[in-house]
Amino acid sequence: MFKQKHIVSMRDLTRDDVDFVLDYAEKMMSCAKAGVRLLQNRILALLFFEPSTRTQLSFDSAMKRLGGSTLSLTSEDSSVLKGETLADTIKVVGGYADAIVLRHPREGAARMASEISSVPIINGGDGAGHHPTQTLLDLYTIRKESHLHDLNIALLGDLKYGRTAHSLAYALNMYDANITLVAPEGLQMPKHIVSTLDSVRLTEDIDEVIRDVDVLYVTRIQKERFPDLNEYLRVAKSYRITLPVLEGVRDNLIIMHPLPRVDEIAQEVDQTKYAKYFKQAFYGIPVRMALLAILLNGAT
C-alpha cells in the first residue's frame, strides 16, 4: 500500500510504490481524455516560482479531468514580490487548497515545504534537484511503449546538471536496468549518482551504443554550460539525433525526450516509429491524475 504523504524525491519511493502509481496510471488512461469525477470539490494549488509549461499545464489538466479545480501563484504575484518566505506561503496556501504542486528555483525547496505543510506537497521541480513526476511519467512511457524488465537504456546529453536524468537513473536502477550514460566530457553524470547504479557504463560516443539499446533518452545540452560557443556547437552537433544516426538500430527502439526540444532531435525523426516524445508528454496526464487521486483520496 502507498504510504507517502508527499512526493518530493524518487528516493522516498519504493519499487512497490512506483509500481502502484504506474498501475493506477494505467487505470486512468481510459479517462485521461473523457475525465472522471474522483476529486470533485477538491482544490489543487499550483505554486510556480519558476516558469514551466508542461508541468504546470499538465497538473492543471489532470486535476480538472478528475473533476477538481486549481489555483495558481507565480513569482510575479504580490506576496512573493513583497519578500514573503516560502515557508509562510506554504502555510497560507495549505489553508486554501487540498494539495500543492511546487516548482521553485532552489534545491530542497519541496523537502522543506513537505516538512511544514498541512497538505500533500508534490515537487514539480526544485532547481537542479528533483522532478519526480517527470520520472514517473518516464517510467510509465518505458513500461507502456517498451518494457521495464531486462531493459537496455542510454541516457544522452547533459547528464551533469540535468535533474531529469539523475532521477531517472536512480529509478531505473530499482528495475535492474542496464544503463549507458552518454555525455560529452565535463557533462557526465556526477560520481555520487553513478556509484549508486548497479549496471552502468559511461561513454562519450553515441554511435557505440545506439544499436544495442531498447530506449534512447535524449536530453538537452544547454548552451550556457559552455564557456565557448564553438565548443557548444561542436558538441551539440555530435549529439544530434538524425535519420542517418538511427541506421541499424533495433526495430523496437523508442526515443524519448522530456521536452522542450531545441535541435537535439531532428524534426525528420518525428515521423519515424521510434519517436515517442509527444506520447511521453501526454502520459503526464494519466500519471499525474493517478498521483493526485492517490494522495488526495488515499486510493487503494
Binding site: R11, A87, E107, R111, H192
Partner: protein, 158 residues
Amino acid sequence: MIPDKDKEELRVRSIRNGSVIDHITAGNALNVLRILGITGTTTAIVSVVMNVPSKRLAFGRKDIVKIEDRELVPAEVDKIALIAPQATINIIRDYEVVQKKSVVLPDLITHVVRCPNLNCISNSAEPIYSKFRVLDSFVLRCGYCESIIDSDIATYLI
C-alpha cells in the same frame, strides 16, 4: 634538570572541573572549539595542545582540548565525531575522571555544517536549519537538496 615525565605534565596542568577532549585527530583542535561554539571572546579557561605524540592515532600525533567548568553533553560530544572519530571525552570533577565517553557518529546532524550547495534552500532566508544525514564516517548528505559532503567537512562547519 627537569625529568622527562614532569616536562610532559608541565605542558598543560590537570584541571579541577570540566571536560578533557583527548585523541583529537591532529590539526582539528580549533575545529573542535568551533563545534563547541568557543570563540576568542570566551570567558572560559580553555587549554589547547596540538601535535602531541600519540601511539594510538595514525601519523603518531594528536590534539587535546581542556575546557574548565563545563561538562559536555552527549549532543555536543557526538558532533565532535564528525571531524575526530577517535576522540575521547573525560568529564572531570575535583581532579577525578568521573565519566569517560567515546564519540558516536549521530544519524542526523542539525545546524552544525552548512550545505556546500549555495542554491540549497537551507542557504536561503527561510526559517530552517541545515540538516545532514550521516551516511558514513566523513560522508554527509544534505537533508534538503541531497548534496554530498565527502571531504573537508571542517570547512563547512557553521
